[in-house]
Amino acid sequence: MSNIWKSAKLDFSLVKPYVKTICFTMVLPVVFAAINRSLLTGISFAMCFIAMTTGYTFSITEKNSMERLYGILPIRKSDMVIGRYIFIIIMGLTALIFSLIAHPVILTILGESISIFDYISAAVTGIFLFALYTVFQLPGYYRFGSIKGRVFMYIPVAGFLITLLLITKSPVGESKLLFTVINFPILLMLLAVIFVIAMYVVSILVSIKILKNKEM
Amino acid sequence: MKLIISNISGIPIYEQIKQQVKSAIMSGDLQADETLPSLRTLAKELKISVLTVTRAYTELEQEGFVKNIQGRGCFVLGQGSELLREQLICKIENNLSEAINAARVANLSEEELHHLLSILMEEKTDE
């Protein structure tokens, strides 16, 4: 367990010089939340943006040929992978928590009211979206590297646009969705959480397999 | 103890070490029960390989000039110069026998052989 944590800290030390840049990207979603007067929109944007930064650890590693350091350190490949996932998840959760505080504040200032339900559903949606983006991104980065795997950086964008499409373009679907959500909110949220965990487990296993077979 | 290694002499380094240690013993620069420099320290200082020094010390031990005691060092043997002298006399005898045999084959007379010896000794003193 401890090696996993060390690996996550190592990844953090790679990204440290860019923390300010990443923080700035969290400002724009606040603006979007304000424009759309919707917490859900704001959170969705925020998760999309933060998911686009997951490639940093990979690109910085590549730029400095640091895979050799990873090859030297006394740590199992599986620990390296899990550590990186933990780091990315912490990054996502941090962005989420920040947004869950900042966005409602702005919205309340603008006169919008936010129910507990709005809050929780935005949180769960945020977690789910972030998970959805990253479970595809990370194996992609492991397999193709951060340059060829550039396309994986845009998965969150594609995913986000699709989400937007689904939410806005089908009012019928929207009401059906809302109906299910209003009637079985706890069930849905539970399902979402289980699904998120399952997705990450599979994604981690795939990434470990890829890394074990990788020629450095 | 003075030890000078030449890169260009063509003589293997371990051989150079042996020769210089032996002459130091002969001339009294190295006394009985004195220790030779530590194997690894010598290798480090002269920037030569540990195995090379090991070989020199091992062969010196085999030839009876030093005794290697694990953990204590390489000691010059008390009978050093005696042993050295004995060994060298043996070597001289062998070489002389060879020379005599060769002289016989070449039909060199005893006088001519003596003469050759004188010339060579003169040359060696000039060196």
Binding site: P74 | K47, L51
Partner: protein, 286 residues
């Protein structure tokens, strides 16, 4: 634990290149030079030892630990220096220590700062502000701070001036002085190894040409020189490589074949000579 590195029948196939049955052993307390022309497989061998490449077959043990089954334990005692640094350019030296020391239980902070002082590396600098020689010393400083028993260096001196190269050799001889550390030094600048190496492993175009004592290696070859007319068919058969000039030739032969050619000019061969002559593929004499 007497053999710090055991490599047995290590093989790896790439497209267009094959590393085939490399076997050698490095006992504790010695320096082994890993030599061969560029592209012959030295870096591949090192990466296979580090399990950065998947081997096709063979076995590698580091201080007795299998390099795949016990990868973590094997690497705890291993220090590696590459020809360029593997830290983040943006890291300050203090961050390098923070990041690396976390993985080694026996990291000695005092040793690290003393070593930095000795190497004249200012702890306040960022990795990218260090010269190439300093970066190499930084990697060494890390390895020394957790008392790595086996040090592997992959072309550490390429790009360094002779002063730095000399410094490195001095540092390495000190490192093995207590007899409890070993060094595997891969280089194509064989002059560095002429005196200091105890063992030589020579890999030529993916094949193991020789592995054993350096003195033995150098001693089993000679350079013979002569005029063009002295180039006999016999010599052509026995020689391992040749340089032809308008005024004569230089050829490498095995010492055991020396007797028949004693009439020619005979010289000892340097490691460089041996590698260069045996690497001249397809060079025929007329």
């Amino acid at each position: 634990m007497n053999d710090y590195l055991e490599v047995r029948n290590l093989s790896k196939s790439f497209e267009g290149f094959q590393l085939h049955n490399i076997t050698f052993t490095l006992p504790k307390g010695y320096i082994m030079g890993l030599i061969g022309p560029n592209g012959s497989g030295k870096t591949t061998t090192i990466k296979l030892i580090l399990n950065m490449l998947k081997r096709t077959s063979g076995e590698v043990k580091i201080l007795g630990f299998d390099n795949i089954a016990s990868e973590q334990e094997a690497k705890r005692n291993l220090g590696v220096v590459f020809d360029s640094n593997y830290f983040s350019d943006e890291w300050k030296i203090s961050q390098v220590e923070k990041s690396v020391s976390a993985f080694y239980e026996n990291w000695n902070t005092q040793k690290f700062s003393e070593t930095l002082k000795r190497f004249h590396i200012q702890p306040s600098k960022k990795v990218k502000e260090l010269s190439k020689g300093m970066q190499m010393k930084l990697m060494l400083a890390c390895a020394f701070s957790y008392d790595a028993k086996l040090l592997i260096l992959d072309e550490p001196t390429s790009g360094l001036d002779p002063v730095s190269r000399d410094e490195l050799l001095h540092i390495l001889s000190e490192y093995i002085e207590d007899g409890e550390h070993s060094v595997l030094f891969s280089t194509h600048i064989t002059g560095d190894l002429e005196r200091a190496a105890d063992y030589i492993t020579y890999i030529s175009y993916g094949e193991l040409f020789f592995s054993g004592g350096k003195d033995e290696f150098i001693d089993s070859f000679r350079i013979v020189k002569g005029g063009c007319e002295e180039l006999s068919t016999d010599l052509g058969k026995k020689m391992l490589g040749i340089r032809n000039f308008s005024t004569g030739f230089e050829a490498l032969i095995k010492t055991e074949d020396l007797k028949q050619f004693a009439h020619l000019n005979v010289e000892p061969a340097t490691i460089d000579d041996i590698v260069v002559f045996t690497s001249k593929r397809g060079e025929q004499y007329e």
